[in-house]
C-alpha cells in the first residue's frame, strides 16, 4: 500500500520538498490519531462483549402468542387472555376495548360481551358481519372467524379477559362451554349475520342495562 517515492513522469522533480507552503509538521494531527486509537479499543470491546454475550445467552424459544393454556389459576389464565387478546383482537378492538368509532364496535360496556357468555364465544368462533347495534351506534363491519385458528382453551381465555376488563364485570368462562358451542353449531361455516341473527338465537340483553354500564365506564 505504501508506494515508494519515485520520479514523477512530467520530469518536474519534487526536490524542493522542504518548500511546502501549507504543510504541517505531522500530516496526521494527533487528535485524529487519538480518536482512531479510542475507536479501535471501543470496537474490540464491542465485538468481544457482543460475541461473548450472544453465545452465553441461550436463545429463548418464543412462539407467537400461543400462551400455554390449561393453567388452573385464574391469574395465569387472565395473563394468557391478555396476550391472546393483544395479538388477535387489539388491532381492531384496541388495547382498551374501545373499538374504533364508526368501524369497530367497542367491547367495553357491550351487552354482547357481558350478558350471556354464549354470545361472545359464538362471535369469536365464527366471526360476524353486517349490521350490529352497540351502545347506540350501528356498525357494519366484518370480524373474521377464529374457530379454526384458536383452540377452546384459548377462546375461553380471551372471552374471560374481555368479560372482566375495562369496567366489564361478567363471570369468566370455561373451555367446556366453548366446545359445547362448537358442537351446537358444528355445520356452520360462515360468520353470523349481524345482531339480528344473534338476537334470534341468544339472549343478547336489554339495552337499558347497557347504557348504564357504559356510563360507568366513561
Amino acid at each position: 500500500m505504501s508506494e515508494r517515492r519515485h520520479k514523477t513522469n512530467d520530469g518536474q522533480e519534487h526536490a524542493a520538498e522542504e518548500f511546502e507552503p501549507y504543510e504541517m509538521h505531522n500530516p496526521v494531527p494527533w487528535p485524529l490519531i487519538a480518536l482512531a486509537l479510542a475507536l479501535a479499543v471501543w470496537g474490540i470491546l464491542t465485538l468481544y462483549s457482543t460475541q461473548e454475550a450472544a453465545q452465553d445467552t441461550p436463545p429463548v424459544q418464543q412462539t407467537q402468542g400461543q400462551a400455554q393454556s390449561g393453567g388452573q389459576q385464574a391469574k395465569g389464565r387472565s395473563e394468557a387472555g391478555e396476550a391472546l387478546f393483544s395479538s388477535h383482537c387489539a388491532t381492531c378492538h384496541q388495547v382498551n376495548g374501545s373499538g374504533i368509532r364508526g368501524a369497530v364496535p367497542p367491547l367495553a360496556g357491550s351487552p354482547y360481551v357481558t350478558n350471556s357468555a354464549d354470545v361472545p364465544i359464538s362471535i369469536v368462533l365464527f366471526g360476524i358481519e353486517n349490521e350490529i347495534e352497540v351502545a347506540g351506534n350501528t356498525y357494519n363491519g366484518l370480524m373474521p372467524t377464529f374457530g379454526h385458528t384458536l383452540d377452546d382453551a384459548q377462546i375461553a381465555a380471551i372471552v374471560s379477559y374481555i368479560r372482566g376488563n375495562w369496567g366489564n364485570d361478567a363471570m369468566p368462562v370455561e373451555s367446556s362451554l366453548v366446545s359445547t358451542l362448537r358442537e351446537r353449531f358444528a355445520g356452520r361455516d360462515q360468520p353470523w349475520n349481524g345482531g339480528a341473527e344473534l338476537a334470534q338465537l341468544f339472549d343478547t340483553g336489554a339495552t337499558d342495562q347497557t347504557s348504564a354500564n357504559l356510563e360507568e365506564t366513561r
Binding site: M1, E3, E23, V28
Partner: protein
C-alpha cells in the same frame, strides 16, 4: 462454530486496524509520494489566491483552462450528460413529491397501479440515484478528469454512446417499475435485463475515462482522481454481483441487498461527491486544501470501513449476530476518514469566508461538504444498537438518507454545474439572481424536510417501542411531520425548476460571452425577458 466465527470476526477487524495503523504510520513518515505541492497542481500558474468563480464579479480575468482546450465534441458530450441529468432530477423529484403527498393523502391519485405509493416511491429513488446523481457525477468526472490530467478526453463518441445507453436503461427501468416489473429489492428494483443495458453503458463510460487517466500528461493523480477512478472500479463490480439473477434468495439475498445498497452510497455516490468537492473548493478559492497528505486517510479509510457497513440495515433482524456487529463497529470507524476529509475541506473554506460569500457555486459545494460530515457522523451514531432500535423502521432513516444523497451529493453537484457550465459554454449565467434563489429554496426546503422527518421519525420510533401504546399511535403521530415534509419537498422541487430554467437559457444562447462585464449580462437578461 463459535470459535470459527469469533476468529473470523477478530480477523476482519484486526485487518482493518492494521491497515489503518500502517496507513497512519506511512503518512506520518512520509512514505507516500504525496506533498502539498501536488495539491497545488489544480491551480494554474498565477491563479493562486484568486477567487475563480465564473458566476460573479471576482471571476473577471479567469479564462477557461488551457489544457485541454474545449472542443465542440467535448462540449456536446458534457451538455448531453448535464441536460439528461437535470431531466432525471426533475422527473425524480416530481415523483418524490407525489410519493410524499401520498403518504398523508392516501386516497389521492389512487386509481391505477402505476401511481400507487410503492411504485412512485421506487421510481423516485431510481430516477434520482441512477438518473440524476449518477449522470451528474459522471458528467462532472468527464470535465474534471481531463482537466486535472491535462489531456483531451479519449473516445468521446464511445462515451456519448455510453451516456445514451445509460439514459435508455434508466428510462426502461422506470417504465418497468411503473408497470410492475421489478426485482423487488430496494436499490435493485430494475429488472436484470435492464441492468444489462446500464452495465454496457457504464462500461462505455468508464473505459475511455480510465484510458484518459492512463494518457495523462501530469505525473501525479490529484485526490479527486483517486475517488473517481476507484468509484469507477468499484461500482461495476457491485452492480454486476448484486444483480446476477437467480442465485440469491431468502435472508442471504438480504445481506447481498444491503451490502450493495450501502455501497452504492459509500463507494459510488460518496466518492463522486467528495471527489468533486476536493476539486472545486480549492479551485474556486484559489488555495490548496489544508493538508494534502491527510486526504490519504480520508480516501483509504473510506474504502476500508465504508465497504463493510451495509449490514447495519439489518440490525435486530434474522441475520447472524456477528455480521451485524461487524457492520456496526465499521460504521463507527467511519468517523476517522470523515473527520480527515472534514479537516481538509472545511478548514480551507472557513478560512476563506470572503470567497464563500462571493461565490455561489462555492456556497453550494462547501455546504454540501459540510453536510457530508453531518450525514456521516449521524450515520455512525445511527448504527449503534441503542439508537438504531429507535430510528430503524421509521421516517428518521429517510431523513438521514436525504441528508446524504441530497444535502451532500446533490448540493455539491448543483455547485459544480454552476461552476462548470460557464466554462464549458463560454457564456455567463443569464439570470444570476436565480442561483441565489435556488440555493435558499432548496436549503431551507431541505431543513424543513430534514427536521420534520428526524423529529417525527424519532417520536414514531419511541411510540413503536412502547408496548403500552397502541401501534397505530406511532403511525398517527407522524402525520403533521409528513405534511411538513411535503412543504419542504415542494420548495426543493421549485428550486430545481429555477435551476433547469437557468441552465436551459444559458445553453439556448442567452447570457453574455465570458469576459464581458456584469453590466452587459444584466442588459442581455432584460432585453431577452
Amino acid at each position: 462454530m463459535g470459535f470459527t466465527i469469533g476468529t473470523l470476526l477478530a480477523f476482519s477487524f484486526a485487518v482493518s486496524l492494521i491497515a489503518l495503523a500502517a496507513l497512519i504510520w506511512a503518512i506520518s513518515r512520509r512514505q507516500f509520494n504525496v506533498t502539498q505541492r501536488d495539491a497545488m497542481m489544480i491551480l494554474p500558474e498565477g491563479e493562486e489566491g484568486k477567487v475563480d468563480d465564473p458566476t460573479s464579479h471576482a471571476s473577471d480575468g479567469h479564462a477557461a483552462p488551457e489544457s485541454p482546450p474545449m472542443t465542440r465534441e467535448w462540449r456536446r458530450l458534457l451538455l448531453f450528460m448535464f441536460i439528461s441529468a437535470i431531466v432525471w432530477l426533475l422527473v425524480g423529484s416530481a415523483f418524490g413529491l407525489i410519493a410524499s403527498l401520498k403518504l398523508h393523502l392516501p386516497d389521492w391519485l389512487n386509481g391505477s397501479p402505476e401511481l400507487t405509493f410503492g411504485r412512485v416511491r421506487t421510481m423516485h429513488l431510481n430516477a434520482v440515484a441512477y438518473g440524476w446523481l449518477s449522470l451528474a457525477g459522471i458528467g462532472t468526472a468527464l470535465w474534471v478528469l481531463p482537466t486535472i490530467f491535462r489531456t483531451p478526453l479519449r473516445h468521446p463518441t464511445l462515451i456519448l454512446l455510453g451516456g445514451l445507453l445509460w439514459n435508455v436503461g434508466v428510462l426502461a427501468g422506470l417504465l418497468a417499475v411503473a408497470s410492475g416489473w421489478t426485482e423487488g429489492l430496494e436499490w435493485l428494483e430494475f429488472p436484470w435485463q435492464v441492468d444489462l443495458v446500464l452495465a454496457a453503458g457504464g462500461a462505455f463510460l468508464a473505459v475511455p475515462l480510465i484510458m484518459t487517466a492512463a494518457a495523462r500528461t501530469v505525473g501525479h493523480i490529484y485526490v479527486t482522481g483517486w475517488y473517481l477512478l476507484a468509484a469507477m472500479a468499484w461500482f461495476p463490480i457491485l452492480f454486476v454481483l448484486a444483480n446476477l439473477p437467480g442465485i440469491h434468495s431468502g435472508v442471504q439475498e438480504a445481506t447481498v441487498n444491503w451490502w450493495f445498497a450501502h455501497n452504492v452510497l459509500g463507494l459510488w455516490l460518496t466518492p463522486l461527491g467528495v471527489g468533486a468537492a476536493y476539486y472545486f473548493i480549492p479551485k474556486i478559492i484559489g488555495k490548496p486544501i489544508f493538508s494534502y497528505r491527510l486526504s490519504l486517510i480520508g480516501f483509504w479509510g473510506l474504502a476500508l470501513f465504508y465497504s463493510q457497513v451495509g449490514i447495519h440495515h439489518l440490525i435486530g433482524g434474522p441475520v447472524p449476530t456477528w455480521v451485524v456487529t461487524l457492520s456496526v463497529v465499521q460504521s463507527v470507524m467511519m468517523l476517522i476518514p470523515v473527520i480527515a476529509v472534514a479537516i481538509n475541506q472545511h478548514v480551507l473554506w472557513m478560512r476563506n469566508l470572503g470567497a464563500f460569500r462571493v461565490s455561489l457555486p462555492l456556497r453550494f459545494i462547501a455546504i454540501g461538504a459540510l453536510m457530508y460530515t453531518f450525514a456521516s457522523v449521524q450515520g455512525s451514531l445511527e448504527a449503534l444498537r441503542v439508537i438504531n432500535t429507535v430510528t430503524h423502521f421509521t421516517h428518521y432513516t429517510v431523513g438521514h438518507a436525504h441528508l446524504g444523497a441530497y444535502a451532500f451529493v446533490t448540493l455539491v453537484m448543483f455547485g459544480s454545474f454552476y461552476y462548470m457550465l460557464p466554462r464549458i459554454t463560454g457564456k455567463s449565467w443569464p439570470m444570476p439572481y436565480l442561483i441565489g434563489l435556488h440555493f435558499w429554496l432548496v436549503f431551507l426546503g431541505f431543513l424543513i424536510y430534514f427536521f420534520a422527518l428526524t423529529i417525527g421519525g424519532w417520536l414514531q420510533g419511541l411510540a413503536m417501542l412502547d408496548g403500552s401504546r397502541d401501534w397505530l399511535e406511532s403511525m398517527q403521530l407522524t402525520v403533521p411531520y409528513l405534511e411538513a415534509r411535503s412543504i419542504g419537498g415542494f420548495m426543493m422541487v421549485l428550486g430545481h425548476l429555477l435551476f433547469a430554467v437557468n441552465v436551459l437559457s444559458l445553453i439556448l444562447g442567452r447570457g453574455a460571452r465570458q469576459g464581458a462585464s456584469q453590466q452587459d449580462v444584466r442588459v442581455t437578461t432584460e432585453a431577452g425577458a
